[in-house]
Amino acid sequence: MSALLEVQGLRVTFGGTAAVRGASLTVNKGETHCLVGESGCGKSVTSLAIMALLAKGGRREADVLSFAGQDIRGLNERQMSRLRGDRMAMIFQEPMTSLNPAYTVGSQMTEVLRRHRGASRVQAVDRAAELLGRVGITAPGLRLGQFPHQLSGGLRQRVMIAMALMCDPELLIADEPTTALDVTVQAQILRLLAGIQKDLGLGILLITHDLGVVARIADRVSVMYAGEVVESAPTAALFADPQHPYTRGLLACVPVPGKVKRGDPLGSIPGVVPRIPPGFRGCAFRDRCAYAHAECAGTIPRRGAGAGHEVLCTLPPGYASRVAA
């Protein structure tokens, strides 16, 4: 496996506030990497920063930011536009407003393929209809001729998903792509993505609140807290042996995978994600952490906890059982 997307020390600031503070993650070819964490912890900003699509006022810095072996930190908008939509595609968290109200679904879907592949109109329409069918939209021909306002939220989200797949991208960044969808459609979409992944080696960075989805499809999980990736591990290892107190809290909130709906409070972790002032040192979770001690205010070491399992925490392995004992 080779790294398709490698991010190290990603920092994003909006004016004085730091939204992402040195996040690191790697997505390999053919792998599904899930990014989880409470609302406001910087998941969307991280994904937008990777695509260089930050809103005005957002500043991005990174120690490493490479796609398919190419350093993409210095690329200008024109160079990025050659990658976007073609080799790296994105599905946004806001399905209701992400389509242009002035154009039909067909027009918006086909222009991607025409732009990057120089496809003819007919070819592009065929491809769009095929993908709409594959994301579970009946009567694709009808939908292609419709405008966004004529579609429900779930349909728009599926159109966005289909549109992102038009050019068979190598990397797909999907920010909560199935939130507006019911469970059966969600399962269908996830199967579709898994199928494409198997056929084409698609790498997926999936942002989700749904740990049930994570357990089912993720190869690797990264847990984000206050702009940092505090723990990253192969899925089985993370569920079996969570290290960071925050991860443990997150998992404790979800005893039964698939039962959690978006908008539910994440229950058992007391407190809220704090606003992190610039120049903040130490662990951002320490105010909410039951195991916090003096070292948590210093520089936090990155420690290994098994194959491919890393955690950003001062506590030694097995701290929880010792305290409980």
Partner: protein, 305 residues
Amino acid sequence: MLRFLLRRLAVALLVALTVLTLSFLLTRLSGDLAISIAGPNATQEDVDIIRRAYGLNRPLTQQYLDWLVRAVQGDFGDSFFFKDRVAKLIASRLPITMTLGLVGLAIALVVSLPLGIIAAVRENSWVDRSVMMVALIGQAMPSFWLGLILMVVLGLNLGWLPISGTGGWEYYVMPGIVLAFSAIPSLMRLTRSGMIEALSSDYIRTARAKGLSRLSILVKHGFRNAAIPVVSIAAVQLGFMLGGSIVIESVFAMHGVGYLAWESIGKNDFPVVQAVVLVLALLYIALTLLADMLNAVLDPRLRSA
């Protein structure tokens, strides 16, 4: 779509009828028409003759219906001064005014749309600030004054363009610029604010995520949505230009309907004045309707409303 347009058409017809009625009432209620037609030196006998000849002795409602039926057919009676049908006079002058208005609008759009877009793309930069400054100056400048400056510079000093009169395209340039100048600030501002809003929208982010070209992002996805309010204001501005032709045509001695109105006011030729006002008002209504139709084409949400 059809329901939207039918509703707009009904509203337009209603407004047109109101304008017709008002224009009738204004002439009848602002004193005795027969006396003003007859002039200051007329005897009572003359006035009576005129009153009968023009049917002014009939009941007001009958006069109104009679006048309305004729006005709808484009019959505005005879001019007192020009000794000709009013409708014919207006028909011969209208093309000049319309051409002038369209030239003015074209110049205004060619200047304000690109500038508005550039100002939006470079929001808060020096480019943006200078563009907005120009808009402010443009708004503060009286059009007759700008007209005179252009005449002196382009006409007298440089000799590039004819100073006044009616003729080929070159006669339309200077008055066109003057008309455009008054429309540019609002068109530019609206383009800018519409573009700023569009460019910060999620669908523009989507367009960028799809890797579309800069031109496609700005124009196809951005301006297409920003253009919707611009179309409405452009129609209103064209209406203003047609209405304002009375000043511009007098300054540049162009023989359009504005000039006709100017002459007729001086000659107390009320059928002509009334007809010009009426025609300009109806044109204005037609323009608004046209803008609504264009908007329905541009905004699919309106179409299905």
